[in-house]
């Protein structure tokens, strides 16, 4: 049996470009100050281990486990708040939002972690509902229901912030 080759540079580069921001935002929910370190450890582990079937879902699972474990170990450390989890909106589109990154950050922080991780992994992580269900260990229908609930709460929060 031949060993499974690691992902080549082009595939890895594409994976990093697609997943890196979403992974950091995903890890920032549990451990804001060390999100980049957690994601970097996950990427190094991806290079060392045989490539999984779905690298994107695998990375999110590894980052989630590492972030939750590190948060549990270092819970007493005071974490520096990150005021803005997003870059400014640079693309002028027809759906330009009436809120900025800080408003969206506050709106996401108002959600529970269980709801926020679904929104983050779906919108900015690009995972499917089935992958999110496997990631969180919950039924797909429940994940979809919570996703809709979280979007409604975000919409109400941002409308109240920017009437």
């Amino acid at each position: 049996m031949l060993p499974i080759p690691p992902p080549d540079d082009s595939e890895l580069h594409r994976l990093l470009e697609e997943c890196m921001p979403g992974l950091i935002l995903y890890a920032r929910q549990w451990f804001a100050s060390a999100a980049e370190d957690i994601v970097q450890d996950a990427l190094l582990r991806l290079l060392r281990e045989p490539p999984p079937e779905s690298p994107r879902a695998w990375l999110f699972r590894v980052v989630r486990n590492a972030a939750v474990d590190r948060r549990r170990r270092e819970n007493r450390f005071r974490q520096e708040p990150v005021p803005n989890w997003f870059h400014g909106v640079v693309e002028q589109t027809e759906n330009e939002p009436p809120f900025d990154g800080e408003d969206l950050t506050r709106a996401l922080e108002s959600l529970e972690t269980s709801l926020r991780e679904i929104v983050v992994s779906k919108i900015w992580g690009g995972l499917t509902f089935r992958e999110i269900a496997e990631l969180t260990g919950r039924p797909t229908s429940s994940v979809h229901y919570d996703y809709r609930q979280a979007l409604d709460r975000l919409r109400v929060f941002l409308q109240d912030e920017n009437p």
Binding site: I24, R78, W85, H87, E91, N95, E96, G101, T128, R130
Partner: protein, 150 residues
């Protein structure tokens, strides 16, 4: 890997959210200043427990060393007791009074070392004055048995 939920089209609000790009660059000042000064990090539990354990061990070792090597410089070894009193305990009157058997009390009383009586005369007593007068005036001759030798 997809199902009906994933085939739902995005609404306007989801598109607005997707426009934002997560910030993936950590601010340098946050990394340098926040970890050094603003973030008050406390040592983990195992480090604190180890510090307390080492402190207790050092304190106990110091106390044991002091107890084993203590030599009082201001106190010399007591002189040996006189013969006969070496192994006899000293009992007070209170201990003797507690004893029920008179023979035990008598035995302990005999075993107790007697305090020496001061031999200084009581100068203000009439007996002392009488003795001094006798000694000064004329001491009575003590009869001897020298006549046998004469």
């Amino acid at each position: 890997m997809t199902n009906d939920f994933d085939n739902e089209p995005l609404d306007d609000f989801e598109r607005q959210l997707a426009i934002f790009r997560p910030r993936a660059i950590r601010i340098v000042t946050f990394k340098t200043t926040a970890r050094n000064s603003a973030t008050k990090r406390t040592p983990p539990d195992w480090m604190r427990y180890a510090a307390v354990g080492l402190s207790c061990f050092a304190l106990g070792a110091g106390v044991m060393y002091g107890m084993l090597n203590f030599q009082p410089s201001h106190r010399e070894t007591p002189p040996p007791p006189p013969p006969g009193y070496a192994l006899l305990p000293v009992f007070g009157d209170a201990e003797i009074a507690k004893l029920r058997r008179p023979i035990d009390a008598m035995r302990l009383t005999m075993a107790r070392p007697q305090q020496p009586v001061p031999e200084q005369p009581i100068r203000n007593s009439s007996l002392y004055m009488l003795q001094r007068n006798i000694m000064n005036d004329s001491a009575p001759s003590i009869p001897t048995n020298n006549h046998d030798t004469e």
